[in-house]
């Protein structure tokens, strides 16, 4: 089943064209990786999918689970099963991580007409996931991402991924700022999430993440559109030869 269909997508940020005719289709059960040099539009793609203000679609369409994304507010996209793991997760002092997770979970349950988990059962579940990701339970009492190291912030994103169980997870440079051990932990978390009923879009600059999370499809983004698509071997070629060979065709 097609989860996401992007057709000829053009996006401008502050009037400047960034995406210039991007096409991409993601089916359930698939893992896609998008690679590309800095400035190629990788993060713009992540942000426009999540509905960040300031990213304007000027042409083309994005359809997510049969609904045009442009008609959905950011929260509605999440209700429909879209999740963005942020490249730079925001610190929100004063809102405890647990309170935030409960609010997010309750919102998603309400949107799906499900009864939210009781507080005790919910906290138990969150603690179990935190422990799988080597996150100290004390983090759950602190403000959202407040004073977390770069690696802890990324693990907190994966905690949310595992808790909220979206249908499509967009991971924006989740590997940046991670040491080898943290990369391993985060990748294991993502692999646990991976399943036949969901899909993952990995956005990354480096091939190393793809050693841990093996993609079904690899795409190279260059100057706002997909320049090449292939299987995992394309990523290895990029690693060996850099992005320069793209320009030579």
């Amino acid at each position: 089943m097609t989860l996401l269909a992007i057709d000829n997508l053009h996006v401008t940020v502050q009037g400047k064209p960034i995406l210039k005719g991007l096409d991409l289709t993601i089916e359930t059960g698939e893992v896609h990786a998008i690679m590309g040099p800095n400035g190629s539009g990788k993060s713009t793609l992540a942000n426009v999918l999540a509905g960040r203000p300031g990213y304007d679609i000027t042409e083309g369409s994005v359809v997510f689970r049969d609904a045009p994304l442009s008609e959905l507010e950011a929260a509605e996209r999440a209700h429909r099963g879209l999740f963005l793991a942020f490249q730079y997760p925001v610190e929100i002092p004063g809102v405890s991580n647990m309170e935030f997770l409960k609010a997010a979970n309750d919102s998603l349950c309400a949107a799906r007409n499900e009864e939210p988990a009781a507080a005790v059962a919910f906290m138990k579940r969150v603690r179990a996931i935190a422990s799988e990701l080597d996150l100290d339970p004390e983090f759950l009492k602190r403000g959202v991402n407040e004073g977390f190291s770069g690696g802890e912030k990324k693990r907190n994103e994966i905690l949310q991924l595992l808790l909220l169980q979206p249908t499509l997870a967009v991971l924006d440079e989740t590997d940046s700022g991670l040491d080898i051990d943290a990369l391993q932990t985060v990748s294991e978390g993502v692999n646990r999430f991976r399943g036949a009923h969901n899909a993952i879009l990995l956005i990354t600059h480096y091939q190393r993440l793809l050693d841990h999370i093996v993609p079904d499809h690899v795409h190279v983004l260059s100057d706002g559109r997909i320049a090449r698509s292939g299987d995992r071997h394309l990523a290895e070629k990029l690693e060996a030869e850099g992005y320069a060979w793209l320009a030579q065709g």
Binding site: G51, I92, S107, V144
Partner: protein
């Protein structure tokens, strides 16, 4: 001028524990003085003094105190004790700085003297629901008191709360102001002796004209103060908070953190002045005031001040005025939390963050209830 009329109206009724000097100070000239004009730049002093002068005589402060603490009306004190109260009121209050204090003292007619013996733990609840009142709280050496002060004025009112902390005494003061008065003025004046600690955890909702003056004198070596205040000021509501923290002795410390959230056309004024006297070697002081305006048309006046007459100190101060963080809102939205709930979470966070360290649920709950109502 309102001040002149007040003086003649009140003079013949002055109880004997009020310093007659206070009356003399209360002249139209004083109310209109340059210093008052600066201290009352954003709140109308003539309006406040007229409103307080029009309140009925007799105090309406109710006190409930634990057994260890003695509570006596001024009128029941011996002649000598009354003389002591008189000098206490006179010495503690800078009449020139706090020109409304004489009106409030006179209007109160009677007052409360609360005293603890040494070495006890005690608690007291003060409720100020109308009119003018005056309370003196004396905490003896090594005693520790938990004070809950609730201000629920429905009409104009004022209160003087004079606190004296003995050596190594401790006061935890939770102050909850949730009135809807046309004019409310309060002065909390604290003197802390050697190694005494004063902790203030204040929450306020503002009113038509609300002014809170808090004056802390760290008057003994090693005395310290931790002041935190969170306020939610709504449309067409006014709150003016004026703090003075004086470091008069060596190794005194103070931490001050006030957060104000403004909705609609709210007006908030904050002035925090740290004064380090020449003898206060090794003093440490920090002061932060943050303001969050949710709507266009809110007015914030904030002024942190440092006055330092000593090189051997550590001081910092800062003030900010801003709006909700768009990045934080987007983060919450991206997790499915709707716009309204996201904003509410951030507002709650802003206010609780400031009260977090003091851990006062009473102060926090009072604000959260109003925040969630709207």
């Amino acid at each position: 001028m309102a001040g002149a009329r007040v003086t003649t109206e009140l003079e013949h009724d002055a109880p004997d524990w009020v310093d007659a000097q206070g009356l003399a100070e209360l002249t139209s000239a004083r109310l209109a003085s340059h210093r008052s004009a600066e201290l009352w730049k954003y709140s109308s002093l003539p309006r406040a003094s007229a409103a307080l002068a029009a309140t009925p005589y007799g105090d309406a402060i109710s006190i409930s105190a634990a057994d260890e603490l003695t509570a006596t009306r001024f009128s029941q004190l011996t002649h000598n004790a009354r003389a002591q109260v008189r000098s206490c009121v006179r010495d503690a209050i800078d009449q020139a700085r706090y020109p409304l204090s004489a009106i409030v003292a006179l209007k109160a007619g009677d007052g409360w003297l609360l005293e603890t013996p040494r070495d006890v733990n005690s608690r007291v609840h003060i409720e100020h629901s109308k009119g003018a009142g005056i309370v003196i709280l004396r905490i003896a050496d090594n005693a520790s008191v938990n004070l809950l002060e609730e201000i629920t004025l429905g009409d104009a009112g004022g209160c003087l709360l004079l606190i004296a902390l003995g050596r190594n005494a401790h006061l935890r003061h939770t102050r909850v102001s949730r009135g809807a008065a046309p004019c409310a003025w309060q002065l909390t004046h604290v003197t802390a002796a050697d190694s005494a600690t004063y902790e203030l955890c204040a929450s306020s909702l503002g009113s038509t004209l609300e002014r809170f003056d808090c004056h802390v004198q760290l008057a003994g070596a090693g005395a310290s103060a931790r002041l935190s205040g969170a306020a939610l000021v709504d449309d067409k509501t006014h709150l003016d908070q004026q703090l003075v923290i004086e470091h008069a002795h060596p190794h005194t410390e103070s931490t001050t953190r006030f957060h104000t959230l403004l909705r609609g056309k709210a007006r908030s004024t904050f002035n925090g002045r740290i004064h380090i006297h020449p003898g206060a070697h090794g003093a440490a002081a920090s002061l932060t005031n943050r303001n969050l305006a949710l709507d266009e048309g809110a007015e914030v006046n904030t002024k942190p001040e440092l006055e330092i007459y000593n090189d051997d100190v550590r001081c910092s101060h800062g003030a900010t005025v801003g709006s909700l963080d768009d990045e934080a809102i987007f983060y919450l939205l991206s997790r499915g939390i709707d716009q309204e709930r996201a904003r509410q979470l951030l507002c709650e966070a802003f206010l609780s963050e400031c009260l977090e360290e003091s851990g006062s649920d009473t102060a926090r709950d009072s604000l959260m209830e109003v925040l969630r109502r709207a």
